[in-house]
Symmetry: C2
Subunit: 229 residues, 2 copies
DNA sequence: TACTTGATGTGGTTGGACCACACGCCTAGA
DNA sequence: TCTAGGCGTGTGGTCCAACCACATCAAGTA
């Protein structure tokens, strides 16, 4: 057992037992090292790992905002991990898109019309109407789809959706340049978004799921997915 | 930008550009530190992060098996990340099970009868017939379900299935103790497994998906999911 | 030829030192 | 008394030098 893994185990046990909860602060690196009888280096390596997994956030200085505190950002961990494995060409972009269609379709079929996340999605849609800039439009589009995923009320699916999006963020951005007529595409996307929300409002989960699948696959087909990694 | 993140960027760029591929070896920590003009500590912190994400594997000693090499184990990263966030009570076990049902049902509906992974699943089923020990049976059960997920041919779904399983491994193990009659349950599980494979062989993806969903949800219902974390 | 032994190179770990930063007390001035 | 500035303290961030354990390979020896 390597030393930093011992520290990882200790922290995980503190989390599991509830002695360390969301928002809680870890002991200072130096005192934790002394407490566990390991070097500060090993403590720091463990903290780095947990930081990369979205479990901790290290802040310098003094006061309430400083120190190493417990956060909860599953998306960060899954996202960077997926991105790295895409970089090694072991997770094809096609599979990521396919998984996104699967998750988001399910979320749409499960979304409750009265969900707050859905109201947020509707708000975002209005903002997109009065949005001429391509970049801003895409940013709102991302938030719309994430809100759609949240509406299903499944934290794991929400986190996975966010991480999938993050993993192919750059890739999707480059795809936009391939579109023959952005204005026309934007008009179509707006209409499809409204159709999805309408289906959910009608309690027609099956139709909503189908619309979402067509929406996503249609976009990638038009922008030219399939050129490999 | 913290120093170790600079190292992370460098390594990721090497992966993206293909100058560092699967099975390739990273420069030695000391020489990489000198090359990037950072301390060995920072290099090690970056390596730790990538190791936790299943991208690298560090090995001591000398020879071909030693050094820091590039691997591809997306399951490790997603699994430990999910497990940690379950520990912080921010990812309910119920959501994990629900997501597993979603992914595995989809995989079953997509699985091709001629897939090698499906042949592997059938082999595992035979082994389970001549398996009396509860623990060994469950181990084979895990491998069966992972093989089922692989049969869909989507690397992302396979990785996510594996990580979901890993995240609730301990939890599922404890559940087994709740079963009123293990022998009867084992008989039922065997029959359901065969039903799933039969549906796939019949090219009846819809039935296969439904059987998988019933199979998983039935097990957790019988073992008593819902007692919280 | 077969075995032993040492050199070499790898990651693993440690302790110490210094830096930048942010807060909060504490003092000097108005 | 009240205010403004400075300095002490504690935090993480970084670096260095050294040592250890381990695995391999090559040279030397029986």
């Amino acid at each position: 057992m390597r030393t930093h893994q011992l520290v990882l185990q200790w922290i995980e046990s503190q989390l599991s037992s509830g002695q360390l909860a969301l928002g809680g602060r870890l002991p200072a690196e130096r005192s934790l090292a002394e407490q566990l009888q390991v070097s500060r280096t090993s403590v720091r390596e463990a903290i780095r790992v947990l930081e990369a997994m979205g479990v901790l956030r290290a802040g310098v200085g003094s006061g309430p905002e400083a120190g190493t505190v417990v956060i909860a950002d599953p998306t960060a961990a899954l996202g960077s991990a997926l991105r790295l494995h895409v970089a090694t060409s072991h997770l094809p972009v096609r599979d990521i898109v396919e998984t996104r269609v699967l998750l988001e379709s399910w979320a749409a079929s499960r979304a409750r019309p009265e969900s707050p996340a859905l109201a947020e999605a509707a708000r975002l849609l209005e903002q997109m109407d009065s949005c001429a800039e391509t970049e801003a439009f895409l940013a709102l589009d991302v938030r719309f789809h994430l809100a759609l995923a949240d509406a299903a009320g499944n934290a794991v699916v929400s986190a996975m959706m966010g991480s999938l999006r993050e993993a192919i963020q750059d890739y999707a951005g480059r795809l936009t340049g391939n579109l023959p007529d952005w204005e026309a595409t934007a008009v179509r996307l707006r209409a499809e978004h409204r159709g999805i929300l309408a289906a959910i409002s009608d309690h027609d989960g099956g139709r909503a799921a189908q619309l979402v699948a067509d929406h996503i696959e249609g976009y990638y087909a038009e922008a030219g997915l399939g050129s490999g990694s």
